[in-house]
């Protein structure tokens, strides 16, 4: 292998680049990324940056020296518009074609928007630094009524940050409790209470019918007929993997780039991060994971896969995620679902400091912590070695 092209200059792509160098790869590494900023970190976009605590410089992933050490060929501000998997050739907007021995697909995901709101000022989604700074300057303007659509992790963080700035927040969620489909209704209820404690007006079990206004948003109309006055709307209703540029490439696209157990999508082509779907042997299920830590781990695994050729290890991690909301640090490891059995193993839901484990089909499949990082990691290890549900409960009983 003499040359590698990495498409997507963010977390997964950059960690892949770093891993190639660390593993001694000495050939050309070309990085194509359609954002113009040097690679930066996204989690602070809904937290410290949005809160006005951090300036954009704080979130760059590398200082200039560390970047120079990686000896990369840059196509920053360049967009991949086509791909031929057999030739491993990436086509850019200006027609340039980059052929290489290896390709890392790391184009991540973009936010879903609400149809019909694209031209309305004051309506935002949050994925990029520019998004975060635009919402932040709205937050800094005159007294504001904020409506957050969607009580998932991003919506919840935006609501928490806005409340931290003393803004009035209404959050609208279609499900009966926040994060119900991920965490189940019992824990979802705790999430709802945390928002209520902090003065968020939470509207559950209703959808958004339309968002009205002439040039700028004025009202959010809910499916039950309620009209909410709004100066700013932030929509957090999920993301779509960026795979359009791979159409007709010969790769299989199925809500993400379909890979094998080792992150390989085609000979010499790997994928990592929010854009990649692969069968995770540990869980016996195909997954696409939208977590920061997975982008790193999979970026590293995919780079090693390229260099290893045959005989690479399957990529079978326990996905891990954190979210900071108010003074709570929420962490989730594994794959929880709404129908899992849930047992609180330490602390209590009432004090909102606890760890809960999730069991399904005789196995522990996930652990959730509210301000309990150490416990999350302990149970994550059990999940990693495929421990049974009984074993997990036994372990819980053995703890002081």
């Amino acid at each position: 292998m003499r040359s590698v092209t990495i498409v997507g200059a963010s977390l997964a792509g950059m960690r892949a680049a770093e891993t190639l160098r660390r593993e001694g790869f000495d050939g050309t590494v070309t990085v194509v990324g359609d954002e113009t900023e040097a690679p930066y970190d996204r989690p602070p976009l809904s937290k410290q940056v949005l809160a006005g605590e951090w300036e954009p410089e704080r979130i760059s992933l590398y200082d200039s020296e560390a970047l120079a050490d990686l000896r990369l060929e840059w196509r920053l501000g360049g967009r991949a518009v086509g791909f031929d998997a057999a030739l491993r050739s990436v086509t850019l907007t200006d027609g340039e074609r980059l052929a290489a021995d290896g390709v890392v697909i790391a184009t991540g995901a973009r936010t879903r928007t609400l149809r019909g709101t694209e031209d309305l000022a004051g309506v935002y989604t949050l994925r990029t630094l520019a998004d975060s700074l635009a919402i932040r300057s709205e937050f800094e303007a005159t007294p504001q009524r904020i409506v957050v659509v969607g009580a998932g992790f991003i919506g919840a963080e935006v609501a928490a940050t806005a409340r931290g700035r003393g803004l009035e927040v209404t959050m609208v969620e279609m499900a009966e409790t926040p994060l119900e489909r991920v965490l189940g209704s019992q824990i979802g209820q705790v999430c709802a209470e945390v928002h209520a404690d902090h003065g968020v007006d939470l509207r559950l079990g209703v959808g958004v019918d339309s968002i009205t206004g002439t040039d700028r948003v004025e009202q959010v109309v809910l499916s039950d007929g309620t009209r909410l006055d709004a100066d700013v709307v932030v929509v957090g209703v999920g993301v779509i993997p960026n795979t359009e540029w791979l159409e007709g490439s010969g790769l299989q696209i199925d809500n993400g780039v379909a890979c094998d157990e080792t992150c390989l999508a085609a000979p010499g082509v790997v994928a990592a991060g929010d854009v990649a779907r692969w069968p995770n042997r540990l869980f016996g299920q195909s997954m696409r994971v939208e977590h920061w830590d997975n982008a790193i781990e999979q970026g590293m695994a995919a780079a090693k896969r390229l260099l290893a050729g045959e005989g690479a290890e399957p990529f079978a991690p326990v996905p891990w995620f954190w979210s900071d909301q108010y003074d709570r640090k929420i962490q989730l490891a594994g794959r929880s679902g709404p129908d899992d059995e849930v047992v609180v193993v330490t602390g209590s839901l009432e004090e909102r400091r606890f760890a809960a484990v999730y069991g399904r089909a005789g196995r522990i499949v996930a652990v959730l912590g509210f301000n309990r990082p150490r416990h999350v990691m302990q149970y994550r290890r059990l999940i990693a070695r495929g421990a049974s549900w009984d074993e997990a409960l036994e372990f819980a009983r053995s703890q002081p």
Binding site: W292, E297, M300, W320, P373, R374, M377
Partner: protein
């Protein structure tokens, strides 16, 4: 060449990712604080330490070359 581990405890939020990557070097204890078990762990731990640096979500760990 030796190196030394430096953690910025103002940034660290004890999520124990480093402990999972390099348990010989980092430990988050019952009090939920991070302890550095070995500040100068030596070359055999270097790859794990580098991975911990990369995977710390708060960029709280750095390595000082002496």
């Amino acid at each position: 060449m030796t190196y030394r581990i430096v953690v910025d405890f103002d940034l660290c939020e004890s999520n124990a990712i480093c402990m999972q990557v390099a348990p010989e070097v980092f430990e988050v204890r019952d009090d939920d604080f991070l302890y550095i078990l070995d500040e100068t762990p030596g070359e055999d731990q270097r790859a794990k330490v580098d991975e911990a640096v990369q995977r710390c979500p708060k960029q709280a760990i750095s390595v000082a070359e002496d």
